[in-house]
Structures are given as C-alpha cells and as structure tokens.
C-alpha cells in the first residue's frame, strides 16, 4: 500500500480524534473534579450544534456561533449545576447520573419540538470550504482547522490548570475539597465553574462537528457513547488520558477503515476491552478511584 495514502489516512484519523478529544475532555473534567457522570453530555453536544447554527444564522457569521455557543451553553450548564446537580453532591454517584440521564431526554425532545426531527444543514464557513493540496493528496480545509483549533484549546486549558492560581485551586479542589473549604476557598463556586467548562467543551465539540455532519436531535447519542469509550480508555477523570485516548481511538478507527472498513466502529470497543483487561483503571487513571 502506498505511503501517501497511509499518511492521508493518519491525518483523517487525527481530525476524527480531535472532535473525540474535545467531547471526552468535558466529560472527564466534570467526573474528575465533581464526581458527576454527566449522561446529558451528548445532548449538550447536540444543543451546542443547534446553538452554534442559530447564532451563526443570526449574526451571519460562523465565527460568532463558534465563539458564543460554547459560552452560552456553558452558562446554561452552570444553571443546571446550580439548580439541579448541586442538590445531589454527597449522595450516591447514581443520583446525578440518573438526573442527567433524564435531562438528556428532555433536551432531545425539546429540540425535536422546537426545531423538528429532520436534519438541518450547517454550512461550512466560506473561508474553509474546499480542499488543501498537501502534495501527497487533498485534505478538507475545515478538518485541518478543527485539528489546529483543538490543539489551541488544549494548550490554553493546560496552561490555565498548571500555571495559574485558578488552576491551582481547581487541582487542589479535586484532591481534597474539605481542606480547601477550611482554607477559605468557596468550593461551590469552583464546582459551578468546572461544570460550566465541561458543558462549554461539549457545546464547542457540537459546533465543530456541525459542518462535518448533518445537525439533528439524535446526533449526540452516538457521541456520548464514543466520549465514554475514550474516557474509559484514558482513565476516568484524567485530562491527559482523554487527549491520548481520543487521538488513539481516532487513528485506530482510521487505520482499521483502510484494511477492514466494516470493522471501523467495533475497533474502539475492542480497544476499550483490551485496555480494561490489562489496566482496569485506564491508561492514565488512578486505581481504586470512585468519585
């Protein structure tokens, strides 16, 4: 098989992985810091795509949609935390799980009622239409943009968590919330912000995926499953794990598609099974952690 085809395939795998990373990241951050398994993550991804589309058509520019939708839906996420999830802290892990599971149904049905169950076209921004000649083959500009944007978001996120005071509080809060409260930090506000961030990342994933797929109310359900697989492979709660596992899953799907295309969906579940057999806590997970 010729080398340029393999490189092109690798690149499409990375682009696929980039969207997986963004969605899995939101899921894993919320679990790692708050101990909440957010089953509404896929629905919020879908809401993000609709919000992006709506804002883009309102302002006439995709870029406003890309910027504002994650902020708006992130704020909506904070509202969900403040009104609903906050009441369930300190209870069994199943309680917020069931709550968000129910919430996902409400969100999907709500969108069906408002926007209908048909798919809606989400046009690619005019600047990014078409393909770029990479010398060895053509690759869609938009997908290259997605890879770059996700890399930038990851960098900003990493710098914030590792190099700033806010990041320090967040990391310490995840380790031991009680001590943080004793030290005079309002941990409730930290959790509020973290949940908002997680939801905002889901929405960003939705807006980014919009121009690559048709936007419809069920688009989040498959994404939720994929995000869970990535989080489990990477280790629940691990940010590095989500990034590595997301790329790994994207590239595996892509490479398997080259040799056995009908197996392309199954490969990520196979990968998850293998990882769970060898390292039950996931690649970067901490053993014995329960929220």
């Amino acid at each position: 098989m010729d080398l340029s085809l393999i490189i092109m395939q690798l690149l499409s795998g990375i682009a696929l992985g980039a969207v997986l990373v963004i969605t899995a990241l939101g899921l894993t951050i919320v679990f790692g810091m708050l101990g909440v398994v957010n089953f509404a993550h896929g629905a919020l991804f879908m809401i993000g795509a609709y919000a992006g589309l709506y804002l883009a058509s309102l302002t006439g520019s995709f870029w406003w949609g890309l910027l504002l939708a994650p902020i708006l839906i992130g704020a909506f996420g904070m509202l969900i935390e403040f009104v609903l999830i906050r009441r369930l802290y300190g209870r069994s892990i199943d309680d917020p799980l069931l709550l968000t599971f129910g919430l996902s149904y409400i969100l999907v049905e709500g969108v069906r009622i408002v926007f209908g169950s048909d798919g809606i076209p989400f046009p690619t921004p005019p600047q990014l239409i078409g393909v770029l000649d990479l010398g060895i083959g053509f690759f869609p500009r938009y997908r290259l943009f997605v890879i770059v944007l996700v890399a930038v978001v990851l960098l900003v996120l990493w710098l914030t968590l590792e190099k700033t005071r806010v990041g320090l509080i967040v990391r310490a809060g995840a380790r031991d919330p009680t001590i943080m409260q004793v030290l005079g930090v309002d941990i409730g506000r930290v959790w509020l912000a973290i949940f908002g961030l997680g939801v905002g990342l889901a929405a960003l994933g939705g807006v980014l995926a919009g121009p690559m797929r048709s936007v419809n109310p069920e688009m989040g359900s498959l994404v939720l499953a994929e995000a869970f697989v990535v989080t489990v492979i990477g280790g629940l709660g691990s940010i590095v794990g989500a990034v590595v596992a997301g790329l790994m899953v994207g590239v595996s799907i892509s490479m398997v598609a080259l040799f056995a295309p009908e197996m392309a969906t199954i490969v990520m579940f196979a990968l998850m099974a293998v990882v769970l057999l060898i390292r039950p806590q996931g690649l970067f997970g901490v053993r014995g952690r329960t929220a």
């Binding site: 499409s12 682009a15 798919g119 048709s214 799907i253 009908e262």
Partner: protein, 413 residues
C-alpha cells in the same frame, strides 16, 4: 450512600404497573366492540431514529389515504382506522408491535416498515398468522420464495429496479465504478443491483468499501476511495447515512474527481444538507412532486396532500405510505370487506394508479410493477423555488421485464 431512596421507588413502580393494568382492562371491552364496525390497518414505522423524517411523511400520507376513503363513506359502510406504531427501526420491537396489533388491536391488515430487517420481522409475524402485509421498504428479500407467502405484498420499488434505472442514466461502457456501501441488507442488495447493471453495460468495479450502518463519520473511507480513481462513486446507504456520506465526500473534493450516484435519492436528506452538497448527485426515486407536469395522478395526489397538510408537498417516502395503504383499501373496496382471502385475490387483480401512473402487483411474488424515476439534484441557482429540488432525468414506465424473473426468485412459473 442513600439507601432510603430505593424503597419508595418500588412502591411507585408497583402502583404504576397496577394502574396501567387497570387502564388496559378498561380499554379492552371498547376495542372488542369496535371490532365489528371499523376496519383497522396496523402501520409500524420507525418514528424515532435515523429514518424518522421519512417515517413521519409516510404516516401523513397513510392518514391521507385513509381520510379520502372515509370521506367517501368508508368501505362497505365501515370506517377505516389507521393504527400507527413506532417500530424504533428495530426488528424485535417491530415484531412485538405487530403481534400486539394483530392479537390485541385485531387489525385486519398491516402496512408499513421502512428498513429491510424490520420488514422481514413484520412479515414473519403476519405470515404466521395469515394477515395481509403490504411492505413499503425498498428491500425485496421479502419477495423471494423463502420469505414469501400469499399474504405478503411489496408496494415499494426494489433494489433491482432502481439500480438498473440509475445505472442506465449514469454508466457507460468502460467506466470505472467504486462503491461505498452500508453493511446491512439494504446496502448489499443495492450493491448486487449495481454490479449486475454494471456488468450488462460493460463498466468495471475498481473497489468496494463496506461501512458500518448508522456511522456518523465517513472521512476515514475517503482517501482510499479517491485513490481508486473511479469515474463514478455509487453510495448505497439510506437516511442520515446518505446525507453524512455525501456531505463528507464533497468536503474531501470527491465531486471534482468523480460523479456521485445513489440508488435512491432522498428528498428529506437533500433538505437536511442543502443544495450545494447534493448538486449534481443522481439517484432513483419512486416519486417526486414535480412529476405533476407529466402525470395527472401526481397532480391530484399533490393537491390532496397540500389541502390536508397546510400547503406542504408530499415526499418520495411519503408517497409509499399513500400508495401502500391506498392500494390495500382499493382491494378491500373491490372485495367488499376484510375477508383475507378475498382481499388477497382482489390485490392480485388490482390495477391501481394513485400517485404516478398505472401499477399492479405481479402474481408470482406480489411485487408492485411501477415506473421508476431518475432524478438529478439541482444547483441552487437553478431552483425556481425552495421545493424545486430535482430535475427529472428519466421516467421509465413500469413493465414486468424490469423485475428479476419469477423463477430467479424461486417461484414456480
């Protein structure tokens, strides 16, 4: 860890179960009484899931067919009632719902199902219980002798008819053809149809890629498809898979290198991704509203649908709901009631023209012989209005020789 939460949950569930059992008991005698007067048609269709848009149009049109008959006084002074059930695009769910329709709701016949696997499940149930089933799924394994029964009818087009009509319009001798195919019955049947048509025309296959059913991302198949350097890419999948696959192929610049052809071009999916993506894509269809300039039946159907649905136009899959239910009701009318054997005979003799010209069910396998349209998606600037989606490239009149022969399907001739 709160343990207290689990106790009230069980009581609530028990209470709910009790309540619904009570409700069912109350509903029972009413249904029993209704059995003597109304004619009930069961209609399983995937109202939720990736084919929801097509399913909803089917329901609207099926309701229209029922309404038109009821407006004229029903059949033998009996009103007709349509019982719509969500099969969730799942064979098990469809079998359960169909069984319920037959055993509990006492339907006189079943029409519906969109997916190939689901129609086979419905057919299993109806065949075993001797209930008429008119399938409106594009898959035709149901017509082959092993699945066939005298109660089984297939109103929709089948893969052989659409692929050969599309291939005639798009393929030429010596052309190179690549295939992207959904890995389930529908995709395999379409691929078989295309390859048969290709062989007859003298075009060559340069490769086939099977993709998982319901995939959201097709980007990983594109580099390999492009490296095959075909003249034509046949994408044989359905519903949102069609929209996503074409959209992503276009993103990868596939249209600059090759023509995209589909066995069945879907009205709702064209709407879901917009004119620029679909521009120039060619595919087969059972119905397109624009046929009204060529066909009086199409014009009449459009008018009736618009009147019932606030000016909206009927879609391709919607038309199946209308002709599937409509042909059955016409046969019941001719048979003077719901006696299954009489209706079967009436269906076999029926000559009907509901949406696009004359149709009839072939005797040996009960496949509806009908015309096939070949459509090309219009450029945005060439659209006269927002409903002006396709140009009609061909309208092949229905004929028995468009179908695979009775003996090939395993029927005695």
């Amino acid at each position: 860890m709160p343990k207290s939460g689990s106790t009230p949950k069980i009581t609530r569930r028990t209470a709910l179960a009790g309540l619904s059992a009570g409700a069912a008991l109350l509903a029972m005698p009413r249904l029993g009484r209704a059995a003597d007067e109304t004619i009930r048609i069961g209609f399983p269709t995937p109202l939720t899931g990736p084919f929801a848009a097509e399913a909803r149009d089917q329901v609207k049109c099926a309701e229209l067919a029922v309404k038109l008959v009821n407006d004229k006084g029903g059949i033998a002074d009996r009103k007709v009632e349509l019982l719509v059930r969500d099969d969730k695009l799942n064979a098990g769910e469809a079998a359960t719902r169909t069984l319920e329709l037959i055993e509990k709701d006492k339907v006189h016949a079943v029409v519906g199902a969109l997916s190939s696997a689901v129609q086979l499940a419905v057919n299993e149930v109806t065949r075993a219980r001797g209930v008429i089933y008119v399938s409106i799924s594009q898959s035709d394994t149901i017509n082959e002798a092993k699945d066939f029964s005298k109660y089984t009818f297939h109103e929709a087009l089948n893969p052989h008819m659409t692929t050969s009509a599309v291939a005639r319009q798009t393929l030429k001798k010596g052309m190179k053809v690549a295939h992207l195919v959904a890995d389930y019955a529908y995709g395999h049947e379409m691929l078989r149809g295309f390859k048969r048509a290709q062989a007859a025309i003298g075009a060559d296959s340069v490769g086939e890629i099977l993709h998982p059913f319901g995939a959201a991302d097709y980007s990983t198949f594109m580099p390999r498809l492009m490296s095959m350097r075909p003249d034509v890419l046949c994408i044989s999948n359905f519903g949102r898979d069609q929209a996503n696959a074409i959209k992503q192929a276009v993103d990868f610049g596939v249209k600059q290198q090759m023509k995209i052809v589909v066995p069945v071009i879907l009205h709702n999916q064209r709407l879901a991704v917009g004119p620029d993506v679909f521009e120039g894509v060619v595919g087969g269809a059972n119905y397109y509203w624009g046929l009204e300039t060529q066909s009086k039946s199409a014009a009449a159907f459009n008018t009736a649908f618009k009147a019932a649905n606030g000016g909206a136009i009927p879609t391709d899959y919607g038309a199946y709901g209308y002709s599937g239910v409509g042909s059955l009701l016409a046969a019941m009318q001719a048979a003077g009631g719901t006696d299954t054997d009489k209706v079967v005979v009436a269906l076999e003799k029926l000559q009907y023209d509901l949406t696009k010209g004359p149709q009839h069910y072939r005797k040996c396998d009960h496949q509806s012989v009908q015309s096939v349209l070949v459509l090309e998606s219009k450029k945005k600037s060439a659209m006269a209005n927002e409903n002006d989606l396709f140009a009609i490239l061909a309208n092949d009149a229905g004929a028995d020789d468009m179908l695979r022969s009775c003996s090939e399907l395993g029927h005695a001739t």
